[in-house]
Amino acid sequence: MFIANIPLLPERGCEQAAQVDYLFYFISAVTGAGTALVFVLLAFMCSRYRKQREGEQTPRILGSHKLEIFWSAVPLVLFLVMFAWGVVVFDQGFDVPSEAPEIFVVGKQWMWKIQHPNGVREINEMHLLINQPVKVTLISEDVIHCYGIPAFRDKIDVLPNRYVTTWYQPNKAGKYQLYCDQLCGVGHSQMIGWIHVMEKDDYDLWYNGKRPKIDDGPTDGSLAWEGRKLFLKLQCASCHSAKGRAPILEGLYGSTVPLRGGGTVKVNDGYIRESILLPMAKVHEGWAPIMPTFANQLADKSLDLTQEEALIRLIAYIKTLGPGQTPTRTDKFPAPIGAETDPSKLGEKK
């Protein structure tokens, strides 16, 4: 009765999990057969060729080239099949569907902060809509963490200063465990949480209860909208506008831009983040390297945002910027209270 409660396989929350399981079964079958063969042979030899009497004469067998080749080649072929199959399964983790909405996850000692594109913020819980593929972009605020969900058979180290991405398409409603798998200090084993995969109705109910309050201006309360607030507060549009001193950011995301000093770079989350924190690292060809760094100036206590959280909002906003959408500084969009309004002082350390 006690034993019957022991689970032997973790739950499956998505198709990817089944793919990993099939590969696991294959390797188990092959290695199980190999191990069984060795064990049976050992047992057979040990019983059949037990010493019968002292001074027994044994045949002088030195080896066999044919056998050596046989038992090198056969395992090698099987191992290579495992490798190839493993690559196929592994690759699925890279094929993010382009239409998948992006969820940001910020890890810190010792919690997971999950940020939905619609503006919902969660801690140590991630609510997902069934059958909806989502792209998950992760970053750490301090040391290396690891975002592991056994039910999705997925795991990814979360590094400081760098975005990593994975994606899931859950296909079974349920509540699945989330772990931090990389030692990150005293609270390592407390850095756990839950993934809730919900049917459409349940999800909507949950989401409507969580929808952020809309205070000022026309807004949908989304992550991008919060990014827009920051964009205005930080005066980004002073330079990044049609007549500005810096490249316009409309439609920039996903494009490839030429770099000063040769080379190109694809504009993705990582590049935008780097350009805000280290503007000199990869300068757009044709523009002077005049942008000051915004490192250590993004955290906003009044909005309860850390630097990483502010960055993902800015990125979410820049991603959505279409032609003609760059805000101009008019009375309609006044600089928020407390913002620096003199462009020459922008980016200075306070």
Binding site: G261, L278, M280, A281, V283, P289
Partner: protein
Amino acid sequence: MSTDSTSVLAHHYDTMEQQQGSARLGMWLFLVTEVLFFGGIFVAYTAYRIWYPEAFLAASAKLNVLIAGINSLLLLTSSLTITFAIHASHEGKQADLRRWLLVTIALAIAFLGFKSREYYNDYREHLIPGKMFYSVPEGEKHTPAQEFEEKGVNPHHVQLFFMFYYCMTGLHVLHMIVGIGLIAWLYILAKRNYFHHPDRYVYVEVTSLYWHFVDMMWFFLVALLYVAGSRQHFEWHL
């Protein structure tokens, strides 16, 4: 087997060739471990150089190539003199042996003298990763960080270069000091007439292998640290 030869032969060897061969083989193997030791730091350097080529180039131009050149010559010359020392000991010329060992030590100490001078200059120019990098050196207007920022390179990456500069040259200096110690020990042995038996020349030879290796590593340090940058003009100062 002469009595003379058995007295220099350790108890667990059969022949002098075996003993000498073991000493040589041991040193060669040790040098392979040294290659991997320096290789580890070289590969770290290379990884960051691939990522931050501009910063490394700009930082390299700040190093004193004149001192590096003089030091290269000093070290190369010491490699030559220790080779002469092997010949002297192999031919049983003990006075020559002592003289060449002394010359080698003198050249090595001169190298360290120039190197200290260079470190001192770096210190005065605040080319040291950390807080000093962000403070204004005496007689200057800008901090090193500002200076590099004006050139359009990230001061963090420049500091990484300087970290490698200190680690690599520091390890090299450490190897030099060990080498000087070994050669000084040979000199003391020579004074005590240890090398009266020419077969013992192998210890001079084995030490010279180590010394040449230290020399060799220096050439790679020059290539990666000192002359890797583009210099606009000659700044000959010590």
